[in-house]
């Protein structure tokens, strides 16, 4: 299987001509583009070649921008590998396909024009995927055709004669499994040798799609391709997941179970972290000599960063669930089921995929909208994505819910009050998103409907390694943020809380600069039921939402309040129930995230949309919180 056929490093051809206008970086002998249809395993192979960890998932349209990596070839030189979004042809219809087109044609200044192509085709779908080979080979660049998913081809009883295909195409062909690594050395071996320019046999006119298709089909036949049996398990699973009754019911159950797990499975782990943080803080306080530095460390850093760290288990649980959705192939089915709802607000099922990934974080979600062909649909999706409950809101939500809502069973032992409240907040965000979409699509972003075309991937078993790596990466991101943004804000706050000194001593926190900042914003937020401390938290949370938790941790840490029952108890003393609900609503609606603002600016090409979005979400947050505070206060008293 690992054999590489045809072409071969033996044929000594002069190095490929460097196309004009592309500056290849010094020391780089090749620029290799990874090209292929969506979901064929390009990023999996790219990761294997480069040792990087680009996102891999089981649905079309995962990669939406070019990603660069370096590899060392067997001849000792270095090469640049470019992972690209999947394409059905070289005539782009959406922003992500445009990226591939532009990189291949050397139209972008960010990447030197590729001089070598790795064409990744799905061997279980060869006859159709070979159509793309026609256009790619006609580029005239040295090419290696990689038939991926060899493992699936074998288990489903398909076969292909690699040597015959290589002979017909005039380029080397390798049959590999990028996921298991089987045969991938052949790719390296090829890249290390000198590569001939392809001489395919009677290539059809590229623009004539039926001709290309016939060519591909004939080629497949000549290469002894016997397509694999239909994916039996996919059919069986679809019979369940796309069942009109069982499908939605199962989905609902799984979602509820995840929310419940966030409140019942995660807390033991959170307690462990909490105790670790508290114990190490006490140890520090006891060992270090009394000094301002010790106070900064204990009150500023430990209380601030520690109060956010506690939420790691909950975040990982959420990512575990999202990872399983993406890797299994269920996500595409979810988009299918959601299409009708999306149609009602003027969008389509494809918008649902970015929206679902916004449950993790709005930044990749905004990027993922590149797969949406219609520009106005794409903008509408970008504008509503930050309403989806991202993982940075989770610490804020669970902190306040746990502080104010006692856990009681709602639906037997399965759902408690806390999980139900959390579900409600997720629903609130989704509702705000679709209502806004409706508004936009019936006014400024009104457009013709673009048809919904979505390829359904086969279901695949998520591997332990893949899921594990994903969680590891997420943990790194989370800890990275705790160690940078939150640490920085905590330290800055602690310092601001100690100036201006009064008679050589630190001022009372309310009289410090922090207090001054808090009191400056207090009048605008008093109607919402927030005091000046929450006000400071709202200011710092403009950097990123979860920073408010660290901020409150630091403030209460300085006050010494955190010791008396922790952050939750301090919040209970400081917030009315009305204010607590108002805070939740505020966080559901407000766009407190620098990174999202930056990425929206980049993707919409200006400040206009992000400014509008920030203002709209801010006003909505204020009004929503105001109403929530009034209503809850009237009800609870």
């Amino acid at each position: 299987m690992s054999a590489i056929a045809g072409g071969g490093p033996a044929s000594a051809t002069p190095g490929p001509p460097v196309p004009p206008g592309s500056a290849r970086p010094a020391g780089i002998s090749r620029v290799i583009a990874v090209v292929g249809p969506p979901n064929s395993g390009k990023s999996t192979l790219f990761n294997r070649l480069t040792g990087l960890r680009q996102k891999v998932a089981n649905f079309p349209g995962v990669t939406v921008e070019q990603k660069l990596g370096r590899i060392r070839l067997s001849d000792g030189t270095a090469a640049l590998v470019v992972d690209l979004p999947g394409v059905y042809s070289l005539s782009p219809r959406s922003e992500d396909e445009q990226v591939t087109h532009d990189v291949l044609m050397g139209l972008t200044s960010e990447v030197p024009r590729p001089d070598t192509v790795l064409l990744i085709l799905d061997s279980t779908n060869l006859a159709r995927h070979l159509s793309l080979a026609a256009s790619v080979l006609s580029l005239g660049l040295p090419t290696l055709v990689v038939l991926n998913m060899a493992d699936e081809l074998k288990t489903r009883g398909g076969d292909v004669d690699v040597a015959a295909l290589a002979a017909r195409l005039g380029v080397p062909v390798a049959l590999i499994s990028a996921a298991s690594g089987e045969g991938w050395e052949a790719v390296l071996q090829f890249l290390g040798g000198s590569i001939a320019v392809p001489r395919p046999i009677d290539l059809p006119v590229i623009s004539d799609i039926p001709k290309c298709h016939q060519w591909a089909a004939r080629l497949g036949k000549e290469a002894g391709y016997s397509p694999p049996a239909p994916p039996l398990w996919t059919r069986r699973l679809d019979a369940v997941f796309l069942h009109p009754v069982a499908g939605p019911a199962i989905f609902g159950l799984v979602v509820v179970a995840v929310f419940q797990a966030i409140f019942s499975a995660a807390p033991p782990l959170m307690d462990l972290i909490d105790r670790g943080v508290a114990a190490s803080g006490e140890w520090l306080a006891a060992t270090l000599p009394a000094s301002l530095f010790r106070d900064l460390l204990v009150q500023g850093v430990w209380s601030g960063v520690g109060s956010v760290l506690v939420f790691l288990p909950q975040i990982l649980l959420l990512f575990l669930f999202l990872g399983l959705l993406e890797d299994s192939g269920y996500l595409a089915r979810a988009a299918l089921i959601a299409d009708r709802t999306m149609a009602k607000v003027g969008l389509q099922g494809k918008s649902f995929i970015p929206l679902l990934s916004a449950y993790a974080c709005a930044v990749p979600a905004v990027l993922a909208t590149r797969t949406i062909e219609n520009k106005r649909d794409r903008f509408a999706t970008i504008l509503i994505a930050p309403f989806m409950t991202c993982s940075a809101r989770l610490p804020v939500y669970t902190l306040i819910i746990a502080a104010f809502l006692p856990e009681r069973p709602v639906l037997g032992p399965l759902v408690g009050t806390r999980a139900a409240a959390l579900l409600g907040l997720y629903a609130l965000g989704f509702l705000a998103a679709v209502t806004t979409a409706r508004l936009l699509k019936s006014s400024v972003l009104r457009s013709e409907k673009t048809p919904f075309l979505l390829e359904m991937p086969p279901y695949r078993m998520p591997t332990l390694r893949q899921v594990g790596l994903r969680l590891l990466d997420r943990a790194k991101v989370f800890l990275g943020r705790a160690g940078t943004v939150i640490l920085g804000v905590s330290v800055a706050l602690w310092v601001l809380a100690h100036v201006p000194p009064k008679a050589g001593h630190a001022p009372k926190i309310a009289d410090s600069l922090v207090g001054t900042i808090g009191r400056a914003v207090a009048p605008t937020i008093e109607p919402l039921g927030f005091n000046w401390k929450i006000g400071v938290g709202l200011v710092t949370s403009l950097a990123a939402r979860e920073v408010i938790v660290g901020t409150l941790g630091t403030i209460y840490g300085i006050e010494g309040d955190a010791d008396a029952g922790g952050l939750q108890a301090a919040l209970r003393r400081d917030l009315t129930p009305g204010g607590a609900v108002a805070l939740l609503v505020f966080f559901a609606f407000a766009m407190q995230c620098m990174s999202t603002i930056a990425v929206v600016r980049r993707e919409t090409g200006g400040w206009r949309w992000p400014a509008l979005q920030f203002a709209y979400m801010g006003v909505l947050a204020w009004i929503g919180a105001f109403v929530a505070n009034r209503v809850v206060t009237a009800l609870v008293g």
Partner: protein
């Protein structure tokens, strides 16, 4: 499991008006041969790139609850289409339409 598409008694209006048959008219498990795609050029190209070429066999598979959108099997893959789009993928009409009611 697979059934050829046949005219249904339930839709006599369709028979009379001779409205062209489309993918929309297929029920789960039925298959038919594509005749032509009646959509703007760029959408038509993409559909053809995905395998919806004239002369190709298409099988209707499962759908979202409510029957829309539906998944269609073509050329070894599955593609989801809305009813409104499927209505523009016209089918090759059997030679003797009125006799095609027999299994």
């Amino acid at each position: 499991m697979r059934r050829r598409f046949r005219y249904r008694k339930g839709s006599p209006a369709k028979d009379q008006q001779k409205e062209p048959l489309s993918l929309r008219d297929l029920r789960q498990g039925e298959e038919a041969v594509l005749e032509k795609i009646d959509l703007p050029d760029d959408v038509c190209r993409r559909l053809m790139e995905m395998g919806f070429l004239p002369g190709t066999r298409v099988v209707a598979a499962r759908a979202a609850p409510g029957g829309d959108p539906r998944v269609f099997r073509v050329d070894g893959i599955e593609v989801a289409l809305r009813r409104e789009t499927a209505a523009h993928l016209l089918l090759r009409v059997p030679h003797t339409p009125n006799a095609a009611g027999a299994p």
